[in-house]
């Protein structure tokens, strides 16, 4: 550790006091279910933008994907292109306004509630809720594990204590303060993340001699790419991998498309649009959202790749070697070794903020899905604060239990799995539901089930990263993956999303012809 634990503890304590204060503000402002579920549909644009961004960006996006950029290079910046182009611009300008309008018109309180009411189908609300409460605890557990490991290392607290403390502190302000507390704490956390990532970029370029000098040094390291990575398509850290190679497939299908498109169908982000008072709030939020994400993933991926220059200049090693082969350790190691103490503290706070902002939103989304969409089937959405509070507490306990059961190496994988499943199952039916004049309910059910089923089959029997771990393909067919390269490296989303999209479009066309 480069910094004094006592100093860091004092800074964290001050930060937690501010979080508690905002949580209390949320509690006092929450009078009815609409306040608790959609923050009274009257949230300030700055809060919407920072909350959306901070929820979007978890520790995994900064540390996990930053480490991946150190390993695979700047090609990951294509994910930033999609993060901003799809995750902010298309999401806010095209989808956000329709979601806000539909949410208000249909008095929808959650993503499954909106889905069900768009199609006038309690079944769709129920199934969407079920998918959320089955898949989201894995992603939530991954965030919990990442946060607890981070607290364990930085504050020297035992892992189990760190996990429980982290889970309960965040749980407390979500349970009592609802979405008003969640979004306002997100905004504070987003502001701290912006300061931390801006300083990281600036100090990195200063340290490495300027923008062009740093990039040129990285370009000149191309002949140092390990033989195994070079054989798999790696052409250096400032070049794209060879088209169609295993690294290209992983980079483009799993990282860029899997996460870049997956963001459009994440329930915890979609509900943010329903908190806006009017379209004007969303227009203003767009202004902040784009640059915010650029400063998050753009900086993480650029600095991640440049850590190779730093470690090579310091010790003659590549970043992955310096980190002992652990991709997740590259960014923290780079920070603690290269940055001044004060920045190490700011960056650690940045990571804590990233974890807390994502975790709080997941708690809220899971808990309200359980109470409002699965147990209450809509009845409890508008009626009971207590039911939703109980729902959040139950899902919090389940997530903690899952976190104790899952292996620590699951963090980045769980993020990709969750986003892939959400997009494959929900995206075509959801977009159709809020845009079509007369949305086809049979088509939505078929699209949702086809997307989820194809995603599941491809994950279990083809995509080697998961199928080889799950072992079902090996057990039944005697091979870890039913198809060879390049298909075994192709992310399930790239296959499942077109299938669910085609199913939705075909059913909707048939429906429109019948209605005409």
């Amino acid at each position: 550790m480069a910094v004094d634990v006592l100093t860091l503890s004092i800074v964290v304590a001050i930060y937690l006091l501010m979080i508690v204060g905002i949580g209390y503000y949320g509690y006092k402002k929450t009078k009815v279910a609409e306040d608790y579920m959609v923050a009274g549909r009257n949230t300030h644009p700055v809060v919407i933008a920072l909350s959306y961004g901070a929820t979007f960006i978890s520790t995994s996006a900064i540390v996990g994907f930053g480490g991946v950029a150190a390993n695979l290079g700047m090609g990951l910046i294509w994910l930033t292109v999609l993060n901003i182009g799809v995750g902010i611009f298309i999401a806010f300008v095209f989808f956000g306004k329709k979601i806000r309008e539909a949410g208000k018109r249909l008095s929808a309180y959650t993503f499954p509630d909106l889905m069900g009411k768009s199609y006038k189908s309690p079944f769709l609300q129920y199934v969407s809720g079920i998918i959320i409460i089955l898949s989201m605890p894995i992603y939530t557990a991954a965030i919990l594990i990442g946060g607890a490991r981070f607290i364990e290392v930085t504050l020297s607290i035992p892992y189990e204590t760190a996990l429980l403390g982290f889970a309960l502190i965040v749980g407390a302000y979500v349970v009592f303060g609802g979405l008003i507390a969640v979004m306002h704490t997100d905004a504070l956390q987003g502001a701290i993340m912006l300061i931390g990532m801006s300083a990281l970029l600036l100090l990195t370029y200063i340290h490495l001699g300027g923008v062009t000098v740093a990039h040129t040094a990285l370009t000149n390291m191309a002949d140092l790419v390990p033989a195994g990575l070079a054989a798999a398509g790696h052409n250096g850290w400032t070049a794209m991998p060879t088209f169609g190679s295993p690294i290209w497939m992983t980079l483009i299908t799993t990282m860029v498309l899997g996460v870049g498109i997956g963001v459009l169908a994440q329930p915890q982000l979609i509900v943010r649009f329903m908190t806006a008072k009017d379209d004007k709030s969303l227009h203003r939020a767009t202004l902040i959202g784009g640059p915010f994400i650029l400063m998050m993933t753009g900086v993480a991926f650029t600095v991640g790749a440049l850590t190779n220059v730093y470690f090579y200049q310091q010790s003659g090693e590549l970043a992955i070697t310096a980190a002992g082969g652990n991709v997740d350790s590259i960014i923290p190691l780079y920070i603690t070794q290269s940055m001044p103490d004060i920045f190490v503290i700011i960056f650690m706070l940045t990571l804590l903020c990233a974890a807390m902002s994502t975790l709080s939103s997941l708690y809220h989304t899971m808990g309200t899905a359980l109470a409002c969409d699965v147990w209450g089937r809509g009845r409890e959405c508008a009626l009971s604060l207590a039911a939703n509070r109980r729902g959040i507490m139950i899902m919090m306990v389940i997530s903690i239990l899952v976190a104790f059961l899952l292996p620590g190496s699951i963090i980045a994988r769980a993020t990709v799995i969750f986003m892939g499943l959400c997009a494959s199952a929900f995206l075509p039916a959801f977009v159709n539901g809020i845009t079509a004049k007369s949305p086809c309910i049979i088509g939505a059910k078929a699209s949702l089930l086809a997307g989820a089923l194809v995603w599941f089959l491809w994950t279990v029997f083809v995509h080697a990263a998961e199928s080889s771990v799950l072992g079902l393909s090996q057990f039944i067919f005697g091979v870890p993956s039913l198809l060879g390269q390049p298909w075994s490296a192709c992310n399930p989303l790239v296959i499942a999303l077109p299938v669910s999209l085609i199913v939705m479009v075909l059913f909707q066309i048939r429906h429109n012809r019948r209605m005409a």
Binding site: G75, T212, A239, K277, H283, L287
Partner: protein, 40 residues
């Protein structure tokens, strides 16, 4: 460009910065558009 020889990388940087700029421009141009609906 800026020490990055592969156009597929620097084009991605230009697009990322361009989209962020488009978000800013869109926000500024529509700053006062889309007030709350009357009667809703």
């Amino acid at each position: 460009m800026f020490g990055i020889p592969d156009p597929y990388i620097w084009i991605a940087y230009l697009l990322a910065i361009g989209f962020a700029g488009a978000c800013v421009l869109y926000g500024l141009l529509n700053w006062n558009n889309g007030d709350a609906e009357h009667g809703s």
